[in-house]
């Protein structure tokens, strides 16, 4: 007997494995749980490259752990967790590992490691590990979670890891939850969560609040006093009818597309320039902006909207020449929106930067999935292997950037082309004239040099590559001012030459093909002869490095959604592998009703902008770490409705807005107890309040003052901005960017804010201070923090002074007495009459201010037509000066300024300014 036991122990020792059932479980646990944990949490610093191993500790084997690191103490004492520094470290007891708070092991994970150590820390060999993994892989769902079938990770551990089912909510098919009849389905789902708490939903808001809420929501503008009073009348007759008619009227307004298009542009990162050092204008980018606005106004089905933006050019090429709609090229402007400039970057890197950017943009925008993490490794939390990332990467690897000929559409606004072109030609002529004069001076000196050296004159271009001794110095005849100026003028010359592209029928678009020979963001065109026979092989790039190609991958899509491209294919997650058609494959896969991310993503965004908060808290990230939806059934139900109703947004808006939840008040009688039960208002017991966005704020003021020019679309417009910023020098590569010149007439300037020129390197200070997002990053939700620079802008800026005078002038035009003007001011700004106290106080205030203004003499505002700039010449380190012309100010039509109006108007304008500064104007309830 004893002999037998000894033999078995010996055998166990020899084999390095133990055989009891307990041991089997321990080894299994080690293989499936402890080892993946060590790999995930420790290996980044304690494994791999021996030079880089932290503290000399390697966790890749039992022996290495027992040997320990630089401390020369074992990190692991089998059987004794308390004596094992490894165990102390993961408990953050003395040592703290992993060092990041957010990476800390959970109690359950720590317990798992502990019982492994207690059991003698067995470490089965590879074959045993494989066997355990194979066994585990056969079981879809265990108490440790569910498997997700994907194209496979870089390691078996990753491929076989398990997810908590609730974490996968977005990756699973959209369900069609039942609804009860009789209640509005939206309210059914809302009250389902509210019912178990003892909280009653808030009462219905009053009609004035409701029309203001709906009008801002759908058009980004306030209602007029006339619209308010008409609505109140209709409401008192039949509230439901009145409400439905109001929604229909607002959805039919062309301003609807301007408001909801802005939400899209926030996510898509719209700007009119390319960013970085050159910050080149992307000529006619506005055509994409208008395409978005038109698509919303036309209620274009969202699936079409997706496909056009991702692969419009490929559809365009498939069509016979007579049926090629230029709008399809314009739509692909989406793929041109990221900041990108290949200057000073090698071509392969520049291409990689572009493709990484576009894959991530597509993931965030359409799939609510952040792809950036998967570039370097299998996703730490989501079922997305790096292989899928590089399949998507391969799908976009043949996407080449180009400005493409695309004739203007009848519905595109081409107003201002002639005036704009004349303006640019004027600036170009000035730059050319100055350039030529400086060049002539240089060449005259060169001639003298050649004469003095007894040789024949060689023109500038031809002497470039001659030896230094046989030619005059580079900038002969020019002092350092002139050297600097010549450089600035030459830059200006081509800036303005290039600006003339604005008036050409071209679109910022893409084409499918091999990489072009050269990349320069200054000019990207489709090459005349397209190589088509090029082999295009894509690899997984290990760690995201071009230098470390791994497995070859084919173009494809995400494999973890259970939504194949072609279920019958050998690998159902691959798309077309020819140069052309890859993107179209991805686009159609995204724009498919079975893609669970696509519909949930857009429905969530639509809900977000109606309620000021989304159902799922991170509209750009539905992954395991994103916030879970507060009402998952509602989100799914709305997704099914969206698809059932033809992917049309206007129907979804109406469905949501006719709910009781949308119409409820922002006041709640139990607000104090709600503060502890539901501080984030996740249950939607009352309507969330929001601050106007930057664009709404400006547009609402222009609307109230009567200055708003409601024209749709067209060339970017230049509103007046703080003049110090407008004229402020701004570095671009080799030079200073030209000054900001506002549009010439008030009508040209007072267009809606979505049309304002968006320069990546020069934010509009008014918009920036009111949290317009930086267009370099996709913005899923805007910030609205109250900071004092907002107060400075609203109290003191010229822009605000102009608006308040325009408002005062409107009041003076429309009604005769101060009392009536106060009344009208409140109606226009707040949609209500002032209280008696407010009326008295306002009248008194205006009278007192008029006294103040009588003695004051406001500055007369003049606009310079020429300014002197100074710049440090990069080569010499010395500063030089040059002048710049501002032709727009030669025949400028300014807004009324304080000096143009009397003390009475200025006093009334003070009141108007107070209204614009007030919280009542800034918030929507």
């Amino acid at each position: 007997m004893a002999n037998l036991r000894l033999r078995s122990i010996l055998a166990a020792l020899l084999l390095g494995v133990t055989a009891s059932a307990d041991d089997h479980v321990t080894e299994r646990n080690f293989t499936l749980k402890v080892l993946p944990l060590l790999k995930a949490k420790c290996l980044g610093c304690h494994g791999g490259d021996t030079e880089d191993v932290q503290g000399g500790l390697d966790v890749r084997s039992r022996a290495a752990l027992i040997k320990g690191g630089e401390s020369e103490e074992p990190a692991l004492v089998p059987g004794d967790p308390e004596a094992s520094p490894l165990y102390q470290a993961i408990r953050w007891d003395g040592l703290e590992m992993p060092p990041k708070e957010n990476d800390r092991l959970t109690e359950a994970q720590i317990a798992m490691v502990k019982s492994w150590i207690v059991a003698g820390a067995p470490w089965p060999d590879e074959a045993t590990q494989r066997r355990h993994r194979a066994e585990a892989a056969a079981i879809e769902s265990t108490d440790e979670g569910v498997l997700v079938r994907t194209s496979g990770g870089l390691s078996d551990e990753w491929t076989l890891r398990r997810y908590r089912p609730e974490d996968l909510w977005a990756f699973r098919p959209v369900k069609r939850p039942p609804v009860s009849t009789g209640t509005h389905p939206v309210d059914y789902f809302i009250s389902k969560r509210l019912a178990p708490t003892s909280i009653e939903p808030a009462a219905q808001a009053d009609p004035v609040t409701l029309i203001r809420r709906a009008t801002f929501d759908l058009t980004g503008l306030p209602p007029t006093p006339e619209q308010i009073s008409a609505f109140r009348e209709e409401w008192s007759a039949n509230p439901d009818n009145a409400w439905e008619q109001l929604i229909d009227r607002l959805l039919a307004s062309p301003h609807y597309g301007e408001r909801w298009g802005q939400h899209w542009l926030d996510v898509a990162r719209y700007a009119d320039t390319g960013g970085y050092s050159n910050d080149y204008e992307r000529s006619n980018m506005w055509r994409y902006r208008d395409y978005v606005i038109r698509s919303f106004n036309d209620d274009k089905p969202y699936d079409e909207f997706i496909v056009e933006q991702l692969a419009g050019d490929e559809i365009w090429e498939e069509r016979p020449p007579g049926r090629r709609d230029p709008e399809l090229l314009v739509a692909t402007g989406f793929l041109r929106l990221g900041p990108w400039d290949p200057a000073m970057v090698k071509k392969p890197q520049a291409r990689q930067i572009y493709i990484d950017d576009v894959v991530n943009a597509v993931g965030q925008t359409f799939l609510a999935t952040t792809m950036r993490c998967v570039k370097c490794h299998d996703h730490k939390f989501d079922p997305i292997p790096t292989r899928d990332y590089y399949r998507m990467y391969a799908a976009f690897a043949t996407t080449q950037l180009a400005e493409r000929p695309a004739s203007f559409l009848p519905e595109e606004n081409r107003e201002g082309f002639d005036e704009g072109r004349t303006h640019v030609e004027r600036l170009l002529a000035f730059a050319s004239e100055r350039t030529e004069a400086l060049r002539r001076k240089r060449e005259a000196a060169a001639r003298r040099w050649y004469q003095e050296h007894g040789s024949n004159y060689v023109p500038h271009e031809e002497r470039k590559n001659l030896p230094d001794e046989s030619k005059p110095p580079r900038h002969v005849g020019l002092d350092h001012h002139e050297i600097g100026r010549l450089k600035v003028r030459e830059q200006d010359q081509w800036i303005w030459t290039r600006r003339l592209e604005r008036y050409q029928p071209m679109a910022q678009s893409v084409y499918s093909g091999p990489d072009p020979k050269f990349l320069n963001a200054r000019k990207l065109r489709v090459p005349g002869k397209r190589r088509t026979n090029t082999e295009f092989v894509n690899h997984i790039l290990t760690g995201g490095a071009l230098e470390a190609p791994g497995d070859i991958v084919q173009p494809g899509v995400l494999s973890g959604l259970g939504h194949p491209v072609d279920p019958s294919a050998e690998d159902p997650y691959l798309v077309e592998s020819e140069l052309r058609g890859r993107r179209l494959g991805v686009a159609r896969w995204i724009a498919h009703e079975n893609n669970p991310l696509t519909t949930r993503a857009i429905v969530n965004r639509i809900w977000q902008h109606h309620f000021g908060k989304p159902l799922a808290g991170n509209p750009n990230n539905f992954g395991v770490k994103g916030a879970k939806p507060t009402h998952p059934e509602l989100l799914d139900w709305l997704s099914t409705q969206f698809v059932d109703r033809g992917w049309r947004m206007k129907r979804l808006h109406k469905l949501i807005m006719t709910s009781r939840a949308y119409k409820q008040s922002s006041h709640h009688p139990q607000i104090d107890s709600l503060g502890s039960v539901d501080p984030g208002n996740d249950l939607l017991a009352y309507f969330p309040t929001r601050r106007l966005s930057a664009e709404e704020l400006r547009d609402a003021m222009l609307h109230v003052t009567g200055e708003l020019n409601p024209t749709l679309g067209g060339l970017p417009v230049m509103p007046e901005i703080n003049m110090e910023v407008a004229l402020q020098p701004r570095m671009i590569q080799f030079s200073l960017a030209p000054a900001y010149q506002p549009s010439r007439t008030p009508a040209q300037r007072h267009r809606r804010s979505i049309y304002a020129y968006r320069v990546r390197g020069q934010a509009n200070p008014f918009f920036e201070v009111f949290n317009q997002p930086n267009p370099n990053e996709s913005c899923e939700a805007r910030d609205a923090a109250a900071v004092s620079p907002q107060a400075f802008t609203l109290m003191n800026s010229d822009v605000m002074s102009d608006r308040s005078i325009a408002f005062a002038q409107r009041l003076e035009r429309e009604v005769p007495t101060l009392e009536k003007r106060v009344e009208r001011a409140f109606l226009l700004a707040f949609g209500r009459s002032p209280s008696r106290l407010e009326r008295t106080r306002m009248i008194d205030y205006v009278r007192r201010m008029e006294q103040e203004h009588r003695g004051a003499r406001p500055d007369i505002v003049t606009h310079p037509t020429r300014i002197t700039r100074s710049l440090v010449e990069e080569l010499s380190g010395k500063s030089f000066e040059y002048d710049e012309i501002l032709p727009v100010f030669e025949q400028y039509v300014p807004d009324a300024k304080p000096a143009d109006v009397g003390p009475g108007t200025r006093a009334l304008a003070d009141l108007c300014l107070a209204l614009f500064n007030s919280n009542e104007f800034l918030y929507v309830y």
Partner: protein, 473 residues
């Protein structure tokens, strides 16, 4: 509730509480309670000072950003080998430029300065003063990634090349708040021209807008729209604010549940206080002449940067947490000798004065001064216009930094670049490790200074980094 208009003008030194009672007559009760709560130690306003995570060596940072990329081998990292190789062909494939390349020796001579014997080129006169030089730590091991100015600027300022993530100053004020509630916690000063990439370099990114860098402009209004138009008097504005407070209070009475209203009203209060505080701190007239002289205010070539350095000292003295000064023109692709000597001249005296001044006031121990560019420069160059252009290209593999005060090892050289300055070879660390080290000195742990955004805890270093122990005193 009855209200009486406030007509008493506020003294500029009015305490917060006095101010509130002054305006309080026309503030709603909820707001008043909230604002008073901000006086209590439990307060957690976004910029209220917060305790560091571990004992801090520095309380404030002054970062001097040399935009364009100073050449390490022409400032603090001598390369005699390069001098020998001058104008010989370079076969290096590191830089992007193709075609014939030749080595460029430094136009400047070097000498060792101070007790510690730091290397400095002969263009540095004031910084070479042992009182200053022996405070400096020269770090030669940092490597950047991007060769393009704006991306490299974004990287050094925000930890990401892409531009759009929070700036380091935003992270620091997010972590520590600010000691002075009447001034912005994070102040940025630039030349008249903005650096490439503009305000993205000091943007708050996904952090709340309270942590955005506030730019103090060198000309015109120091902060945009800081003051009301000239024809409106202070009394005029006081009445405007009272009228606004009245409107807001009426509104708040109708919306008692709306918490944001109080914060917005408070932002006006801070704005009003800043209107007096900011002009005070930037008005240098009260500084004694010898201080003005020391910072180079009497000399055109040094006055601009000198004013900003002096202002930085005053701001830090007032409790501002993070001050950044951008000084451009270091991008010497040609005419290196002229370019760099002019740039060095413009910063040498003011920098030395800043270090000395901080030291004499006992502030250097707690103020970390950092001098850096966005990358270094190459040991070789291309011909320009067919001529041997004596300048240098962009180099992400080697650069040079100076650090002083705030827990940094004084009089030390840390790290090294190779014989010609092409690449860092010793104590090599990416930018993120420099960031982690700066945070560490401020008592912040990069791994714990996180912000949940877009479904992930984000941090300045992006994915974590290491403290460069060699830099610590």
């Amino acid at each position: 509730m009855t209200h009486k208009l406030c007509s008493r003008p506020l003294s500029t030194t009015a305490s917060r509480r006095q101010f509130l009672y002054g305006l309080g007559a026309s503030l709603g009760s909820v707001a008043l309670t909230d604002l008073l709560a901000a006086d209590s130690p439990r307060s957690t306003g976004p910029l209220e000072p917060r305790k560091p995570m571990h004992p801090a060596r520095a309380k404030a940072v002054i970062m001097l950003f040399m935009e364009g990329g100073p050449a390490h081998m022409d400032t603090f990292d001598p390369k005699p080998t390069l001098t020998r190789l001058h104008k010989t062909e370079s076969k290096s494939t590191r830089s992007l430029a193709s075609g014939f390349k030749f080595h460029v020796g430094s136009p400047f001579k070097f000498r060792k300065v101070g007790q510690a014997g730091l290397d400095m080129c002969d263009q540095w006169h004031y910084l070479a003063d042992p009182e200053v030089a022996d405070e400096l730590c020269n770090y030669r091991g940092c490597t950047a990634e991007s060769l393009n100015h704006p991306e490299a600027l974004f990287h050094m300022n925000t930890g990401s090349r892409l531009g759009g993530d929070p700036a380091i100053g935003s992270w620091v004020t997010y972590g520590l708040g600010s000691e002075n509630q009447n001034l912005p916690g994070y102040v940025v000063m630039t030349e008249l021209a903005l650096p490439q990439g503009g305000s993205t370099n000091w943007n708050n990114g996904f952090l709340p807008a309270h942590y955005q860098g506030t730019r103090l402009r060198p000309e015109g209004s120091p902060i945009l729209d800081l003051t009301s138009p000239r024809h409106k008097s202070r009394r005029h504005q006081r009445q405007f604010l009272d009228q606004l407070a009245f409107l807001n209070e009426q509104h708040q009475a109708r919306h008692p549940q709306h918490r944001d209203l109080a914060a917005r009203m408070e932002s006006y209060e801070l704005a009003y206080r800043m209107q007096t505080e900011v002009p005070g701190v930037i008005d240098l007239a009260g500084e004694p002449d010898h201080i003005q002289e020391m910072y180079g205010l009497h000399d055109d070539e040094t006055a601009a940067f000198g004013r900003q350095c002096l202002m930085a000292r005053r701001l830090v003295e007032k409790g501002v947490r993070f001050v950044q000064i951008f000084s451009g023109g270091w991008d010497s692709h040609d005419y290196l000798e002229r370019g760099h000597s002019a740039r060095i001249k413009s910063v040498d005296k003011p920098m030395a004065a800043l270090i000395k001044d901080l030291k004499r006031r006992g502030m250097l121990d707690e103020t970390l001064v950092v001098w850096t560019g966005e990358f270094g420069r190459t040991p070789d160059n291309n011909k320009r216009g067919g001529v041997y252009a004596i300048g240098r290209g962009h180099n992400a593999d080697a650069m040079t930094m100076l650090l002083a005060g705030g827990g940094v090892k004084p009089g030390a050289v840390v790290g090294a670049t190779d014989a010609i300055g092409a690449t860092a070879v010793d104590c090599v660390h990416p930018i993120r490790d420099v960031h982690v080290t700066l945070l560490h000195l401020l008592g912040l742990d990069d791994n714990k200074l996180t912000y949940f955004h877009g479904g992930r805890y984000k941090q300045l270093s992006q994915f974590g980094g290491k403290v460069i122990d060699e830099l610590l005193a």
